[in-house]
């Protein structure tokens, strides 16, 4: 775990939110299971919901939490949001209702995460273009209004899935570089592994919690 592609510098925590049946877990599996084919020899067992990617020469381990999307669990799933650095908000382009619920999901996300959390809007099931119920433009406009990144993706074909996760990671990494994200805050959703070689010194946050009693 500590050598080769597993030697990562950061851990980013993502959550995937959205209505039930929009394909959250399919997106997750599409993304995480691909690592067998792409990145590394699959000698080590699958770690739950993770994948290691590379952003700007930094190995980053993405830890992605799937969430339950049922309406009745909405009230109790707040603890999912705790410490998420990125939130992938998913709707189903073939079901209008899932798109309509986005605003409440967004509200939850905004309320329950820290301001620097990157929110990415994903319109899933882009392969089912014939059954489309939500237009790209409509969603794009919603994303722009709320300052979200947006992409239409297909968990089935894998189209744009990778990009969504990678773009989110890049944005998070950027905010770390900018110092907007406090790594030492427990809720930042980012863990730094300083012992890794070649880490940028800029990543060291200025504010350190130096309590030694």
């Amino acid at each position: 775990m500590t050598s080769g592609p597993y030697n990562y510098s950061y851990i980013f925590k993502y959550i995937i939110i959205g209505d039930m049946g929009v394909g959250k877990s399919c997106l997750l599996h599409q993304f995480t299971d691909k690592k067998f084919m792409a990145d590394c020899p699959h000698t080590i067992g699958v770690e739950f919901g993770t994948r290691i990617i590379e952003v700007a020469g930094q190995k980053i381990k993405l830890q992605i939490w799937d969430t339950a999307g049922q309406e009745r669990f909405r009230a109790v799933t707040r603890s999912y949001y705790r410490g998420a650095a990125g939130a992938l908000m998913v709707y189903d382009i073939t079901r209008r209702s899932t798109y309509n619920h986005l605003s409440s999901w967004l509200t939850d996300t905004r309320n329950l995460t820290n301001p620097s959390t990157v929110i990415f809007l994903i319109g899933n099931k882009s392969d089912l273009d014939g059954q489309r119920d939500v237009t790209y433009e409509e969603a794009k406009q919603f994303a722009d209004e709320n300052g979200l990144m947006f992409v239409e993706a297909s968990a089935k074909t894998g189209q744009n899935v990778e990009e969504a996760f990678l773009e989110t990671a890049k944005k998070i990494y950027q905010s770390i570089q900018d110092g907007r994200l406090d790594l030492n805050a427990a809720e930042s959703g980012v863990q730094h592994k300083p012992a890794s070689p070649g880490r940028p010194l800029a990543a060291q946050p200025p504010a350190r919690d130096n309590c030694a009693c």
Partner: protein
């Protein structure tokens, strides 16, 4: 005392349960006994009696298990009393959560609790014993492993050395490659951590304490990042170290009452109880209410659910946050398998309802306390990432869902919901309870079967080994007998006259009493063996020896006058004795000093008479005396020796005292007492020749005879194995002669073997009692 309280509380909680089975009743009864007696280790009552059903207060109303065995009125009073007491006592112990009457699962929970209880007891014991170890500040380095100095000694708490030792062992087991400084650092951290928490626990709210603990974790992480001790430690190992440290610190703190687990100032315990009651009320909630895809009729589904529930229940018994997380993780993996059985990837949409269902069916003990404990004191980073954190978050969601469960959240009519909630808790969910019970029974059956299988295998193994052992022993026996045969065939018994006879005769004359005693003792030993070995000619052996003596006599006379005379005299005396005619020369001396005999304790030797020669007792004593007195002076009284020997042989066949008797008789410093002892030691045959020689040199005549014996060997020609002409009258006296007499066949055997082979192996084949004499001979 604390155990008593726990038991009491446990008993109380137990009684709240709906217990239907007989075992449940007995269990409750047992804990009732615990509750209401001062002795906590009473035997449980095995039978219900009328009095058991009455109110515990003895108010003649019937009691109720729901009311802890009181009647309603007394129970109310009791409860209010308890509440007051609870408020009064600051040290409230964490209470075990009551459990549902799910028989299949109850067992696990109870065992987990008893484990907990045991641990607490152990903890309190070590708490008393161990002395406080106050650790110095983190950075202070000392070469010693125990660099904690007892500078300060607050009396309130003590960290048992157990923690330190346990950490040391665990560290060695888990991180064998890490340098000792890391081990030391982590131990130092754990101690400062524990001290800090305990110091702050009383003055801080639990949230502040939690924050402090989190800061401590961060501090350690920072230390790992900065300290050069950890320079070569991999990041993942650091994480493991973090978990390691957390585990040991929190395991210790967890078991202390009201510090971190269900701490004072929180209503964790009440929440536990409320949650448990709530879950019991919701036992009617089925899979269809939660819209989770569970099939009660599928065996694999039931099994998975059962496993998940078992894991969840054992969360309470794990002491560290990491351990609890692990249990949650295991549980959720089963739940996930439950959801994703149909090939499709399991999603959180399925996981959460299934987990809720699992929690509802499990009703884990102290659920809220456990969750709060993990939330507060688990390393926050661990909680926010990773599988354990994810599942734990799901569990939190499930619990909060159950807490806030309404008709809407179950997508059902409010009226129907209320109806269900008003229903007695025992009715709902019976089908699932039955299904799970089935699982429990099945598992138990499997365990039993496995145990039986194992036992059978062990038995077979044992049988196999027994057979092998039998075969081995048989072959060993054969080998041994074969070896014995070989040796016997290689070294055939040759009966030859004993060459040492003259020398021994001389020695005996010289040595007087001690030597005689020696001889007697040996003769006793040799006697039975001689019979055995001489089985070919048992009847003749004694007489033969005598005859040999008589026949040898002339030749000995010719070659060695001294010996010859001695022999003749001996023969005469033998004859005298048998015919009850003692030699005249000896008798007066014996009469002169009769008490000396007793002094020498030769009497003791003489008293037992195996051949029933009682009439000779007194005489033989007299005879004995003579050589005792005159041993050194009179060479001729070798006769006395012989007499003495004869008597002894007669009487001492089965006398054990005779063996011990000779020892105190060493009067003469020149008597070969020492020599004898050395010679008698069968284990030290080497030094004997020298010592014997040196002693023999003091006695000129005997050294002469000694050498003469060696060279001359006068009896060799004359000796015969068996003489039919041996007088039967002498049989009684002759065994003695034959045993110590060189003419006896047995001794001839021994000498011949030793002479020919000169090897100890040959000697060892001979009967052991002969060895003292045989050891004489080679010298």
């Amino acid at each position: 005392m604390s155990i008593g309280i726990i038991l009491c509380q446990y008993g109380k909680d137990c009684q709240d349960q709906e217990l239907t089975s007989l075992s449940g009743k007995l269990e409750r009864n047992k804990y009732t006994d615990y509750l209401y007696s001062d002795q906590h280790f009473l035997m449980p009552l095995l039978r219900f009696e009328q009095s058991d059903l009455k109110c515990k207060n003895g108010c003649d109303y019937f009691g109720n298990p729901q009311w802890q065995g009181y009647c309603s009125k007394c129970h109310r009073e009791q409860m209010s009393r308890q509440r007051r007491a609870e408020k009064a006592s600051s040290a409230t112990l964490p209470k075990p959560e009551q459990k549902k009457a799910d028989h299949g699962l109850k067992l696990t929970a109870r065992s987990s609790f008893s484990k907990f209880e045991e641990k607490r007891q152990r903890q309190s014991e070590t708490l008393k014993k161990a002395n406080l170890l106050k650790f110095t500040v983190f950075k202070k380095s000392s070469t010693d492993d125990h660099d904690h100095t007892p500078e300060k000694r607050p009396p309130e708490f003590k960290i048992p050395s157990m923690v330190n030792d346990g950490m040391k062992q665990d560290f060695r087991a888990r991180f064998p490659n890490l340098p000792p400084q890391v081990d030391r650092d982590s131990r130092v951290f754990v101690h400062t951590f524990i001290m800090d928490v305990m110091k702050c626990a009383s003055v801080m709210t639990v949230d502040e304490l939690s924050e402090r603990v989190q800061r401590q974790y961060q501090r350690f992480m920072k230390h790992m990042d900065t300290s050069q001790h950890f320079a070569n430690v991999e990041p993942d190992t650091k994480e493991q170290l973090m978990d390691f440290v957390e585990k040991h610190a929190m395991t210790y703190l967890h078991d202390l009452p009201s510090i971190v687990f269900s701490p004072i100032g929180t209503d964790d315990e009440r929440a536990d109880r409320a949650m448990s009651e709530r879950i019991q009320q919701l036992s009617w909630v089925g899979e269809r209410h939660l819209e989770c895809k569970l099939d009660r009729n599928s065996a694999s589904c039931r099994q998975l659910l059962y496993k998940a529930i078992s894991e969840l229940l054992s969360m309470d018994s794990a002491a560290s946050p990491g351990g609890k997380l692990r249990q949650v993780r295991r549980c959720c993996r089963h739940v996930l398998a439950l959801c994703g059985r149909d090939g499709a990837p399991a999603s959180a949409d399925d996981l959460l309802p299934a987990l809720i269902f699992t929690v509802l069916k499990a009703n884990p003990p102290r659920l809220v306390s456990n969750i709060n404990f993990v939330t507060r004191f688990c390393n926050a980073q661990r909680l926010m990432t990773g599988e354990g954190g994810y599942y734990f978050t799901n569990l939190c969601c499930a619990v909060s869902f159950i807490e806030n469960l309404t008709a809407e959240s179950l997508n059902m009519d409010k009226k129907e919901f209320d109806c269900y909630m008003a229903m007695p808790a025992s009715i709902g969910g019976s089908s699932w309870a039955a299904a799970l019970l089935l699982c429990g029974v099945e598992r138990e059956a499997n365990e039993q079967r496995a145990a039986a299988q194992k036992a059978r295998e062990q038995l077979q193994d044992l049988q196999h080994r027994a057979d092998r052992l039998a075969a081995d022993s048989h072959s060993f026996e054969e080998q041994i007998s074969k070896k014995v045969q070989d040796v016997l065939s290689k070294t055939p018994l040759e009966i030859k006259p004993r060459r040492e006879l003259p020398r021994i005769g001389k020695l005996r004359e010289i040595s007087s009493t001690p030597l005689i005693d020696l001889d007697t003792s040996t003769s006793e030993d040799t006697r039975p063996l001689q019979d055995v070995t001489d089985s070919r000619q048992p009847s003749q052996s004694n007489g033969n020896a005598f005859i040999q003596d008589s026949q040898v006599e002339p030749q000995t006379q010719s070659s060695k006058p001294v010996t010859a005379t001695e022999d003749t005299e001996k023969l005469n005396i033998l004859g005298f004795e048998v015919i009850d005619k003692p030699s005249p020369t000896k008798s007066p001396q014996t009469i002169d000093q009769p008490w000396d005999l007793k002094q020498t304790s030769s009497l003791e030797l003489l008293t037992p008479s195996p051949l029933g020669y009682t009439p000779f007792d007194s005489r033989s004593i007299d005879e004995l005396m003579t050589p005792d007195e005159f041993g050194a002076d009179h060479l001729a009284p070798g006769l006395g020796n012989i007499n003495y020997d004869i008597d002894l042989s007669d009487f001492s066949g089965d006398n054990s005292i005779a063996e011990d008797a000779p020892k105190p008789e060493a009067k003469d410093p020149f008597s070969p007492d020492v020599l004898k002892k050395q010679m008698f030691d069968p284990f030290a045959p080497q030094p004997q020749p020298e010592s014997l020689n040196s002693i023999l040199e003091k006695f000129d005549e005997f050294s002469l005879t000694y050498t003469g014996n060696k060279t001359l060997d006068p009896f060799e020609i004359v000796h015969r194995g068996a003489d039919p002409f041996s007088p039967p009258g002498f049989t009684g006296s002759l065994p003695q002669n034959s045993s110590r007499d060189p003419f006896s066949p047995v001794q001839n055997e021994s000498t011949s073997i030793l002479d020919h082979n000169e090897s100890p192996t040959a000697a060892s084949l001979l009967p052991s009692p002969l060895q003292p004499q045989s050891s004489e001979k080679p010298s």
